[in-house]
Subunit: 138 residues, 2 copies
């Protein structure tokens, strides 16, 4: 998702376009990987000294609700990335840099009648390890 896509979503929902929001979206849209709230806070603090945690978390939640960001829980800490958007897929996630690689297979295709009497709300498939460049560097 591009910066402009995100700006459109925000404005179509009646949210204001602030400098901080633009910077947050820019941070995620130019980095293909998962980042923590702390990562974002530190990035923002460099440009906007004294930025509030409230601002960081409020916008992370807002963007997640608007499907601008997607999130995952790693080691009991939430990580966020820009929403890739196109069709359904999963990710490899690098344990070192948080970088991701799209995986175009989905185990739900093979779930068949295994969960016949269950209600399925969601699912998660993620592969963890080292991406090629972190592998070389280690």
């Amino acid at each position: 998702m591009s910066l402009n896509d995100a700006i459109n979503i925000l404005q179509n929902h009646g949210y204001k376009m602030t400098h901080r929001r633009k910077a947050i979206i820019q941070y995620f849209s130019t980095s293909d990987g998962y980042r923590t709230a702390k990562d974002l806070y530190e990035h923002m603090e460099a440009k906007y000294t004294g930025i509030s945690y409230d601002t960081v978390y409020r916008n992370l939640h807002l963007f997640h609700d608007l499907d601008i960001l997607e999130s995952t829980s790693l080691n009991a800490e939430k990580h966020f990335r820009i929403n890739c958007g196109d069709h359904h897929h999963h990710h490899f996630i690098c344990n070192v840099c948080g970088g991701t690689k799209k995986l175009n297979i989905c185990p739900m295709d093979d779930i068949g009648t295994l969960l016949k009497n269950y209600t399925i709300d969601d699912h998660k498939f993620e592969v963890y390890g080292l991406c090629p460049s972190c592998k070389l560097a280690s």
Copy 2:
């Protein structure tokens, strides 16, 4: 895994068998589902008034390290269950009761050469929703 299996693992590694440890293992081995540290704390507090968080968390970590328990991160909080032990598999997890159902399919069987230059350390496949009994109750 049964209570006795877990006791053997503990003793083979030279750990002491305390009343609290036995109660913790009993708690997990008689409940087929994921439970939080808080769930366990509240269960233990009923029997052992004044039990320390240190005891709860130290043993959760110990049991996890010894593969007596397995864990997953849900909503940025760790959840634990008894290790099923037999062969590799994944779980459906009920959003209401934490109950699980074994899923005998693994997406890694189909990963092929998708991650050719990557190091794969781990992976996670989980399906979330309502189990039959929570579905009926809702």
